[in-house]
Amino acid sequence: MAGPGWEHFHHVADIGVRGHGATVEEAFVQAALALTAVIADPASVSPQSGISVECEAPDRELLLVDWLNAIVYEMAVRSMLFSRFAVTITGQRLHGQAWGERVDVSRHAPAVEVKGATYTALRVAQEGGAWVAQCVVDV
């Protein structure tokens, strides 16, 4: 597989986010970019200010949902969008950082709010040497 990347996948009512990369962390970072892309073009979001989040879950899949939900929460309470992410995973814990800016409706043209990341089509796995991290998000 080529370098890290993200994509959206089909769900009839909502939308799936998928990140892939050489490591679990990279796949998580890309999945977060896919999450931003549900709302707006990540390229339109300037990574001006950073926040950090801590998550803990008994397995990698629940950890992915926690990570994405932590970003959903930060977007909601700070009225921000994020376009750069960093993730470190140690055992059941995740330390994440996100950089972005306040929502500017005219510039970001946000399409939709994300209510939450879900367990639907949830998968964190190694595929052909690369890691894939994905789930459906409710909008």
Binding site: V72, S79, V105, A109, G116, T118
Partner: protein, 476 residues
Amino acid sequence: MDLNLFTRHDEYRWQINPRGRMRVPAVLFADERLIREMDDKVYEQVTNVATLPGIVQASYAMPDAHWGYGFPIGGVAAFAPEEGGVISAGGVGFDISCGVRTLVTGIPATEVLAVQKELAMVLYRAIPAGVGSTGGLRLDAHEMDAMLSGGARWAVARGYGRKEDLLRIEEHGEMSGAEPDEVSDHAKKRQRDEMGTLGSGNHYLEVQQVMEIYDAKTAAAFDLRVGEVVVGIHCGSRGLGHQIGTEFMKRMAMAAGRYGIELPDRELACAPLASPEGRAYLGAMRAAINCALANRQILTHLTRAAFAELFPAADLALLYDVSHNTCKFEEHVVEGRIRQLYIHRKGATRAFGPGHPELPEVFRDTGQPVLIGGTMGTESYILAGTAESETRAFSSACHGAGRAMSRHAALKKWRGRQLVDELAGRGILIRSPSSRGVAEEAPGAYKDVSAVVEAAHQAGLARKVARVEPLACIKG
């Protein structure tokens, strides 16, 4: 779906007999075409729900059913606490108490059409909609808890709307048993700036014209007349409900094993009603119901104020407010016996029939209004609860059109600007901060709401009263 999977009871009722771990049958209400076109996931999910502990009678799916989270959207299921019955965060949904209310204006459509653009603009300015929008009030900790306990009654006490509105809201505007202490600080913080906001996605505020009456007597009782204008508001409990859904989904997924509940799908995360997790969720969910009721009440106040700018004499009385993502404790007759059950309705509307003791006097003879939202380009419907609905699916009916196409596919097929122009050409003004949001919500991405409503009517879930069509729509 393959019709061979079902035993067909009648033209609109399809049954899946118990097999494997199913404790009860699954029953779908729809016509043949809707069943054929329904997502295979509905079959999987409606049968999965039938495996949950303490489920009573059957796992049901409404005519607009589609792929949901654990439960199908359009799913209805009842649980008995004394039989180990469960409560499921997925069975209520992320947008707790999302629902619809309709205001009757008494204004002839001709008068609205004369100022259609101005009205659309006034409403668009008055109603905070879309990503990052904030409401005009900010709640401190004390007021937040008062709102979570008091619902629309709290909103009326703070000057949003009128006392008589409360009679025309389920639970009389105030869900009892709410426990603000079970709502996390995160959920409360997420709601701090979101009171009186519409949200985004499929939520809307729509000015509609009554086009056709199917049941003259009930329409008269509902104050609906052909050619007059009503307003439909569709939204829910905003960030607070979403956060509660997210947190309890995880908590229940992790707890289920402890209670010996084998989950066929992690999304079905649930806990016994009698467990600490079940009780905590119930208290938090009821607080979120109050948040949704308060939110729609504030939006009603803003709508009235906006209309008053152009129609100072208009009254905008509330017809009714229904919630279609809930779990409620109700009495139902099962095999001739009155049972007290917790009814999950995920994307399904309560449809109490005539004479139901929980209905206000004004709807005792007609049954409750059942408000079914269409898309921004198509008709919506007002129905009424029927007596026979009790014997169908615990007095439940459909909730909307239901998506037929993903947002992803819709985005490839339509452009927002083009849709707005096309709809304007048909006399429907769309006002939205997001062109992409409009494309994702394209009317063509939904099922035919008329087919869904016809199936609900024919199946006896609710009866058609009136059809309305949009004149202007504010989308988030």
